[in-house]
Symmetry: C2
Amino acid sequence: MASRAKATILDIAREAGVSKSTVSLVLQGSRLIRPETALKVRKAIEDVGYVYNRGAANLRKAHSNVIGMVINDLTNPFFAEMAVGMERVFQSAGIVPFIANTAESPVRQEEVLKSLMEQGVAGLVVSPARGTTPGAFRRLETAGVPVVFVMRRLPESRIPVITPDNHRGAYLATAHLIGKGHRRLAFFGGSSDLVVYHERLGGFRAACEAFGIAPADRLVFEGETSRKGGIACLETALAMAAPPTAALCFNDAVAFGVLLALRKRGLEPGADFAVVGFDDVAEAEHYMPALTSVAVNTAGLGERAAHVVLKMIQSRTTRAEDHIGAVNLVVRESCGPDRKEHGCAGMGDAA
Amino acid sequence: MASRAKATILDIAREAGVSKSTVSLVLQGSRLIRPETALKVRKAIEDVGYVYNRGAANLRKAHSNVIGMVINDLTNPFFAEMAVGMERVFQSAGIVPFIANTAESPVRQEEVLKSLMEQGVAGLVVSPARGTTPGAFRRLETAGVPVVFVMRRLPESRIPVITPDNHRGAYLATAHLIGKGHRRLAFFGGSSDLVVYHERLGGFRAACEAFGIAPADRLVFEGETSRKGGIACLETALAMAAPPTAALCFNDAVAFGVLLALRKRGLEPGADFAVVGFDDVAEAEHYMPALTSVAVNTAGLGERAAHVVLKMIQSRTTRAEDHIGAVNLVVRESCGPDRKEHGCAGMGDAA
DNA sequence: TTGATTTATTGGAACGTTCCATTTAATAGG
DNA sequence: CCTATTAAATGGAACGTTCCAATAAATCAA
């Protein structure tokens, strides 16, 4: 317990019989100090139990080496995975990033951003909360703090963005479904306040158009981006007079919900109704049936984002190029075998 | 861009025509300042785009209001959930906690702890990495920083701990299995370098003993605490001459693995082999079949931990009582119906 | 009026670093 | 030997806050 007044650089100086400047230099690993002196100082540091006061240092340096990762939803394995990718990069750069969760709340995000600024962050990687207002990052911008967005973008913003190629991914997935013989397709989940949503939906539409699916045969169901949302989408879709036979889901969580709901109804995912997810989270591979999904290289995008912000900090700029990451469809079991003229057994299939 | 030298309290003072002390008081919401003066100052703050420099403030106050949450594995939904519980509490206390991930590496943890100390944290909630050495937290202790452990404890440490009642949970689960008619039981997954492991295994053994299961009929399989670990455990268990008919799993991830492996082998979880998980993560309810698991009130424990550390900070102590959280078994489908003399077919629900 | 009290405001000395400009010691060149 | 040069160590002035003690202005008691 005890621990009287915290030891400072001066205490070490006294202990080691040198000046505070010398101690400071040792702390910074300067080559100006004679090795044996450095050793003496380091010993004193150890003896006294000194802990470096970064706040004081930053006061002088204005160069804080703190990097923040602001994540919209840490309980979502997808974002957690991305966060871990970033962390890897920061770690190997010798930086301990601070992670903050906004729980998808713009208000909370505001608080977090404020706190981070007060702490003097050197840079930020942000996956913005849904409903973030365009002005939310102005303070950061005027303060000249490098920021990069990852996974999500804001409608009108000059902040660089690292995202997967959502349009292409959705296109590929949709094409796959059509190739399997489906002619009446749905897009499940997601809400239109996310730019990503429009990108993915755009890819879906483009593919439908390219392969001659009539506008009346492509159904869009907005919904929560969660299992629950997926369940709801499937329910309302199957309640239609002429239900779809396949769905591209906004993300894997929605797809899992759909798979679940199918089972509950006694339908066989894949055979009776084809499902494709998006993001290819770790769980997709282990699901029952294994989920066909668009892999976006989650951790890789995180790493990329981290690299970009590092580079920005280093070159003292607040601008950088956007990066659109490659995607690919990984085909598993959730779309079943190819579909013949008329659906196989099971229940109500295409008209 | 631009943003010449950062604005300080003095710039605002000049702008508002008052002294820096006045500005400082306004920032702290002091009632000593005339409301109209305060207003004038606040306007200047807004105009200049000032951001508070907490580092400078802390230098003077030595009272940092930064709290850290050190998590062993953020990609594990269980810990993520716990983290979110803590966050909730800190948020309503007006504090933005910083989360750091150690990825189950003691080395990484060391770095994180060091960084946090340098940042001048006021307190810490830690779920220690596996293999943490007893001395890892000595620096924190001698510095007098309040620390509380959550979910995991260290073999010999005076740091307060918030955990679920692992022994009781395992006991309940095992009793349930025995009540279902199982007489040859296994404990799957986990490794003995975790105190939790011994607690849970202890509960398992105690129940076996209490209900007269012969020592030869309780099998222990160490293994990774992941899906993969669960799969492996089941494989080796079923390869035995007299395999068990039910298993208590170290945690839900292991249980999911077991469920998966059963399916792969064409066995029906519940009917052919009963499975109980531990932790009751959100996914347990939605699995196929829904997993019977020991609910530990994850988020609640997180909240509790946060409260404790807050109290410790406030009362300037480094000691607090341990807290053992209540647990309860939530019965779903993964143990099937009661077991007759010889396992029955079908997969009806619990009797 | 005078002094005492209250209310608002302010200067200045910390806080623990960094880093520039110096000083001191050691080495080399002649 | 003296003077340059290099190497090693040092003092002191920042950095942007807080907070104590002091002041100034306003109110009150006589």
